[in-house]
């Protein structure tokens, strides 16, 4: 027991730091998603209609994004948030966020459905970058993102240079998926 207690005490700062990071990441990611919606132009988006964001998986980001949606607009258009945790075949969202809470099956199913679909896909898993437009990465205790410009261009999604200059990495050429 004594050895267990000492080990827990030794790991305590890291445990606490990881909890803090998790708690702090959700609103940041929500803000990032909101700003992605501002700097990304999706061709299927209806003029004057709401900007729709679909959240795959039961994530804490949803609540924060809902809060933002209640008081802000995207280029003058309201923000609409939907969450789903089961596989679907119809996606009419401007932006889809695949959270870590989604199951691997759901993630893959969603990516498969949205393949060649003009939806800006943001994934919370960097390994999914070949199939998504943007992926959150954590670097130096700071949340950043990578851009897969090739997919965006392929699907007609326009990404603002303002957003591009903030990306940690921009994948533009053919890459092996």
């Amino acid at each position: 027991m004594r050895w267990l207690l000492l080990a827990w005490l030794a790991l305590l700062p890291y445990v606490a730091k990881g909890q803090e990071l998790v708690v702090r990441e959700a609103p940041i990611k929500a803000a990032y998603l909101y700003n992605f919606a501002k700097y990304v132009q999706v061709p299927t988006r209806q003029p004057g209609g709401p900007v729709t964001i679909g959240i795959v998986g039961d994530s804490a980001v949803t609540a924060h994004l809902q809060t933002i949606a209640e008081r802000k607009t995207v280029n003058g258009r309201p923000l609409k948030i939907e969450t789903f945790s089961t596989a679907r075949t119809d996606f009419a969202y401007d932006l889809v966020f695949i959270s870590r809470a989604a199951s691997e099956e759901l993630q893959l199913n969603t990516l498969a459905v949205l393949h060649e679909h003009s939806t800006f896909i943001v994934a919370d898993i960097s390994t999914l970058i070949p199939s998504v437009d943007a992926a959150f990465v954590s670097e130096s205790n700071r949340l950043r993102f990578d851009i897969n410009l090739r997919r965006s261009k392929t699907n007609g999604v326009q990404i603002s240079s303002q957003l591009l200059k903030l990306a940690r990495t921009i994948h533009e050429e053919k890459q092996s998926l």
């Binding site: 940041i28 803000a31 990032y32 700003n35 501002k38 700097y39 802000k72 607009t73 995207v74 280029n75 003058g76 603002s160 303002q162 957003l163 200059k165 903030l166």
Partner: protein
């Protein structure tokens, strides 16, 4: 500006032209510089605003994604703009987000808290705070601080250029003004020189060349017209002057002639006045001599009266002495009888009948001679008294005839007594009663002899006025009264009185109502009274009602008058109407 007024007109014109050019150019240059500075500042503000908007726009995403590094990278683009010293991004809540600060620039330039949106500036910097907005609202704020070094450098450079330009233009304008003013001032100077020449030579027939028909030409024409008028007026003035000179000459001649006549007349009047003065002095002397003669006549009359008494006494003595012959005859008979009986004197007296009567005769003769001696002694005493009386009269006359003017203490009662004494024989002969009413008799400083002369004269006149009056009514009243400043001596008679018509002329020289009078006594008395500072007045109720003469004399000698000459300075004035015509 006195110095400017004293400058020649050429210098004035030159200064005015150069000054006007310099002022206009200076004002223009200053205005242009001010406008340029303002424009540059405005341009700088616009440039800063544009720059801030671009940077702010480029920073939107960085703020949105809270990417400080990206924001600072964006702000770093301001480094290319040399005028920008620092910049700071604020997030939408006003918290500082990212900062750019040029090396060597103080951090105090940047505000820690969000400043008001807009532009503020001071002499060294301009601070612009702009709002970073997108469609959905305010993203953040950008505050840019720029220095004005470039502005100042440009301003100084332009100022130097403007100064050089100004100096050059002033030099050119001065040269041009010097050339141009000569055109204007030359004619004015010529006109001035011409005017001066006309003034010096007094030649109003000269004319100045008008030249061009501008204002100076008009001035020259006007001056020529004025010269013409002056020439005409000069001619008229010369003619008038000649006429006036001629008239003045005539008038001067007349005045000289009048003056000569006047001087002759003045000389004649002066001679006449001198003659009159001499005559007056002679008359005065005559009057005094006449008065003195009159008094002397009275004195001689008194002396004569006394001499009559003396003569009577002498006759009586002579008659008495003539009676003494029988005593001589008797004594000679006694001597003869005694001589005949010289040897028998004893028997002669004892036995001879004549001898026995001779003793009785000698006794009777002794008694008789003793009686005669007493009579003669009495007469001798009377005669001696008369002689003393004559001596007193002579002494009084001598006293009165002494030189007047000596002021001594006098009492008028005593002088009245002396005056009466000088007239007492005549007064007694005429049966005149003299009444003395000396209520006041103060002693005062007076001219005794003049007063005595007046009193003698007044009493003599009173005596004469009583000649035709009944003996029982012949009275002369002498009275003395005083006031605070004067003493009044009056001589009142109950004589024939004076006609009212004669009252005003009774003191006039030569005026008299008596056949044997001279008209000098009252005149000289009035003059003497005036010379003593007093005056002599007369009053009468009319003919037959007597008259009163009042002599008023001051008790105090007036100051300013010479000692011993009271009233001398006022001798030329007559105090009352009764003595107004005392002078000739």
């Amino acid at each position: 500006m006195k110095w400017f007024e004293r400058l020649p007109i050429r210098h004035k014109l030159l200064i005015l032209l150069v000054l006007a050019s310099a002022l206009s150019l200076g004002v223009g240059t200053v205005g242009m510089l001010a406008y340029d500075v303002q424009s540059f500042q405005r341009s700088m503000e616009v440039q800063l605003t544009t720059l801030a908007n671009v940077v702010g726009h480029n920073s939107q995403s960085a703020i949105a994604f809270s990417d400080v590094d990206a924001a600072e990278q964006t702000l770093l683009s301001l480094e290319k703009e040399e005028s920008v010293d620092a910049a700071r991004l604020f997030d939408a809540s006003g918290q500082p987000f990212a900062t750019f600060q040029r090396i060597g620039v103080s951090s105090a330039l940047l505000p820690d808290s969000l400043p008001d949106v807009g532009v503020t500036s001071d002499t060294h910097s301009i601070r612009l705070t702009t709002q970073i907005d997108d469609v959905d609202g305010t993203v953040g704020f950008l505050c840019v601080v720029a220095n004005t070094t470039q502005l100042r450098a440009k301003t100084i450079a332009k100022l130097k250029i403007a100064l050089i330009y100004l100096i050059g233009v002033i030099g050119l304008s001065g040269f041009a003004a010097y050339r141009m003013q000569n055109v204007i001032s030359r004619r004015i100077v010529n006109l001035s020189l011409f005017t001066q020449d006309v003034q010096e030579r007094q030649d109003y027939s000269a004319r100045v060349d008008s030249g061009a028909s501008d204002e100076i030409g008009s001035l020259c024409d006007a001056f020529n017209k004025m010269l013409s008028r002056v020439e005409q007026q000069q001619g008229a003035l010369t003619e008038s002057h000649n006429q006036l000179e001629s008239r003045v000459h005539e008038r001067t001649t007349e005045l000289q002639e009048s003056n000569r006549k006047l001087q002759t007349e003045i000389l004649r009047h002066q001679h006449a006045r001198e003659e009159l003065q001499a005559l007056q002095e002679e008359l005065m002397s005559t009057a005094r001599a006449a008065g003195m003669a009159e008094i002397a006549t009275g004195v001689l009359h008194n002396v004569g009266n006394v001499l009559n008494s003396v003569n009577v006494s002498a006759n009586l003595i002579r008659e008495q002495l003539q009676g003494w012959g029988r005593y001589v005859s008797g004594i000679e008979a006694i001597h003869t009888a005694m001589d005949a009986n010289e040897s028998q004197l004893g028997p002669f007296f004892e036995e001879h009948p004549q001898g026995s009567r001779l003793i009785e005769f000698l006794k009777a003769l002794g008694t008789d001679i003793n009686q005669q001696r007493e009579i003669l002694m009495e007469e001798a005493e009377t005669l001696h008294g008369f002689v003393d009386h004559v001596k007193e009269i002579v002494a009084a006359q001598q006293s009165m005839s002494r030189v007047s003017g000596v002021m001594i203490p006098v009492r008028l009662s005593r002088l009245f007594s002396e005056a009466i004494m000088l007239n007492d024989t005549a007064l007694a002969r005429h049966g005149i009663t003299v009444i003395k009413d000396f209520a006041d008799d103060p002693e005062f400083q007076g001219d005794k002899h003049r007063i005595l002369q007046i009193f003698v004269n007044l009493i003599s006149n009173a005596k004469n006025a009583l000649d035709k009056v009944d003996n029982s009514q012949r009275t002369i009243t002498l009275a003395l009264r005083t006031s605070a400043t004067a003493i009044f001596a009056s001589v009142t008679d109950s004589g024939i009185g004076i006609d009212t018509a004669n009252l005003s002329s009774i003191f006039r020289h030569g005026f008299t109502t008596r056949d044997e009078g001279h008209g000098f006594g009252l005149h000289s008395s009035a003059l003497a009274a005036t010379e003593m500072g007093g005056h002599l007045t007369v009053d009468s109720a009319g003919p037959g009602k007597g008259a009163v003469f009042i002599l008023e004399l001051p008790l105090e000698i007036e100051t300013g008058r010479g000692k011993g000459q009271p009233g001398l300075s006022s001798s030329n004035k007559c105090v009352r109407t009764t003595v107004e015509d005392c002078r000739i």
